[in-house]
Symmetry: C2
Subunit: 189 residues, 2 copies
């Protein structure tokens, strides 16, 4: 009878992509007084489900966008009852630092298979981030086509190395165009 209130507000946020106002909360949960909604909200704030900003407007607590991070696989998954999980993580924020210069690319081929990047995976790449370091994974142009490889730099020698024994390193004949540096990998099953 109380978690129900919470869930209604959360699902309002999920569908409307914004927080409800107090009158909207009234209608949402069936109160007849705006103040009842006001008190309900304050309780949700104390619980950390939701936050208010400087103007009192509701903003979603981090937790709504985030997913519980439970720890190591070895530790297993705690029982449903003890929901005292402190650590949560926003996948978006974890993977993407600079939203304006980040892009997703779909992986074709198996040239990075030993790095754990398989065909069909998506890689998050960041553009304009200066010179890559040795062993960074980069998107580079060679012979008019684009590939993903390790960026290798030993002294003045610069080349591209696949993560697959079956392929040979690529020593660029002309200039080596680096389009972006790979910052993350995501795979869906």
């Amino acid at each position: 009878m109380f978690d129900s209130y919470k869930n209604k507000i959360i699902s309002f946020y999920r569908t409307h992509k914004r927080m409800p106002g107090y009158q909207e909360i009234m209608n949402l949960v069936g109160f007849k007084s705006k103040n009842a909604a006001y008190k309900l909200v304050n309780k949700l704030v104390e619980m950390g489900v939701v936050t208010k900003d400087a103007k009192g407007k509701l903003i979603p607590a981090d937790r709504l966008d985030e997913i519980p991070l439970l720890g190591l696989v070895e530790a297993g998954i705690p029982s449903a009852t003890e929901e005292e999980l402190t650590d949560t993580l926003s996948i978006d924020d974890y993977l993407v630092k600079h939203k304006d210069s980040s892009y997703l690319l779909e992986v074709k081929g198996d040239s990075m298979i030993e790095e754990g990047i398989k065909e069909g995976d998506l890689v998050i790449v960041e553009r304009n981030k200066g010179e890559p370091k040795d062993m960074d994974i980069v998107i580079a142009e060679v012979d008019g086509g684009w590939t993903m490889k390790y960026y290798r730099k030993k002294g003045t020698l610069v080349y591209l190395q696949p993560a697959n024994k079956n392929y040979k390193p690529i020593y660029p004949t002309e200039e080596l165009k680096i389009a972006a540096i790979v910052k993350g990998v995501i795979r869906k099953y």
Copy 2:
């Protein structure tokens, strides 16, 4: 002089986690009339940067939370100027279908290395999703500890198979507790 307006509103959303009101937009971009903000907003709506809901309130267009999906690695990265990218993707929504039963676990060890899951990766797991299928990757309890393995089911025979030649399959002696099914993998560089 106009993209600057757009960026100010977007960064307001990024920092405040909600859309500004019209008066807030005024102060944000330096207008002296609320109506100027109103017209600006309507232009942004036509551009698809932002949307209005039934009550006229602003809600972020999908694009703000999403990241451009450019296509295959082979296709490379389009030049910065031609920003006509239609396809965008929300990493969160892509990976997480049921937010309430999804959790993140950190991977230890190399037992799934041939599946491209390395130590330090995070896996997104979903709980309570019924019986796993053959070759699903699961979090299971064996001998009092938890591991991640392939769930194998051949007729009545059920066992756990690692994705690493150096390890042997595990044939459960007693009951096999499946805690969750792995739905995704994320890795940050």
